[in-house]
């Protein structure tokens, strides 16, 4: 099989885990991402197709939806981010591309973002010091791009108040992770 060993953006050989006070931070290297953009005129067709392929309806603006094996996130007008378990380089994007041929443009994003899961009480206090989004009001299913310590990140709410995922651009991941940890220490 493949000779190369993959590195994670923060931990390197192992995904990074930190516990600060009541908060747990977990780097996730095991998810694959692919962006899906509807071709003009195919917007509805894409939604239908996505439903059958991913088993969930395409989310509305500012939302994400979780399915059995894959989840869908609203990235922009007629553009979604699909997430599944990582099986191998480009595999999700290639599979989606075949499925959505002629309907949408698919681009692999697995290594564009590094996902950091944040769980535990205090998540709100932490995020209030890092993002302008009204995190107190974020319900499970909320998904937005915004800035965290000057870096454009995706912020996903998995469970209101207690469980969030930050998707940081991979090259910035260490900086964003550092900001999360340092602020958590100050709570």
């Amino acid at each position: 099989m493949r000779d190369f060993v993959a590195k994670t953006a923060i931990g390197g050989t192992e995904p990074k885990q930190d516990v600060v006070g009541t908060l747990t931070f977990q780097e996730r290297e095991d998810v694959a991402l692919a962006s899906v953009s509807a071709r003009p005129g195919q917007e509805e067709a894409l939604k239908t197709k996505l439903h059958s392929v991913c088993g969930i309806a395409a989310p509305d603006a500012g939302q994400w939806k979780k399915g059995e094996t894959s989840s869908l996130h609203w990235l922009g007008p007629d553009q979604y981010l699909c997430e599944e378990a990582y099986t191998g380089p480009l595999e999700l994007a290639r599979r989606m591309a075949t499925e959505l041929d002629g309907i949408a443009s698919v681009t692999d994003q697995s290594d564009v973002f590094t996902r950091i899961d944040m769980t535990g009480p205090g998540a709100i206090d932490l995020l209030q010091r890092l993002t302008v989004l009204d995190v107190e009001q974020m319900q499970a299913g909320a998904f937005n791009r915004s800035a965290i310590h000057h870096v454009g990140c995706l912020l996903r709410c998995n469970e209101a108040g207690a469980d969030f995922s930050v998707y940081a651009p991979r090259s910035y991941a260490i900086s964003v992770h550092h900001a999360l940890i340092e602020v958590a220490k100050a709570l």
């Binding site: 500012g62 609203w74 922009g76 302008v132 791009r145 800035a147 454009g152």
Partner: protein
């Protein structure tokens, strides 16, 4: 300031990048006999109103939409926000 994004609702302007007068959508026809002066006026001259101003903002830290925001330059009150692509289509822009 807070821009009421047509799709995402109220978002802080720190997420956006400003370009300028929405008249930048009305790019002249390169084949017009007076293309040069038209492009000059298009690119360089401004109404620069003290009052209602239609302007382009890019949701850089957001959904990457270009918006046309109608804002009062005296009070900063925002009167309307639209997706720039819709505005462009309305003004007859296509391919």
């Amino acid at each position: 300031m807070i821009i009421n994004h047509p799709l995402l609702g109220p978002r802080d302007t720190s997420e956006f990048t400003y370009l300028g007068d929405a008249s930048l959508i009305n790019r002249p026809d390169w084949q017009s006999d007076t293309a040069a002066p038209e492009f000059h006026d298009y690119l360089y001259l401004r109404d620069n109103p003290a009052g209602t101003h239609r302007e382009l903002w890019f949701h850089e830290q957001g959904d990457r939409s270009w918006l046309v925001v109608t804002r009062n330059t005296l009070t900063h009150e925002i009167l309307a926000t639209e997706l720039a692509r819709d505005v462009a289509r309305k003004t007859g822009r296509g391919k």
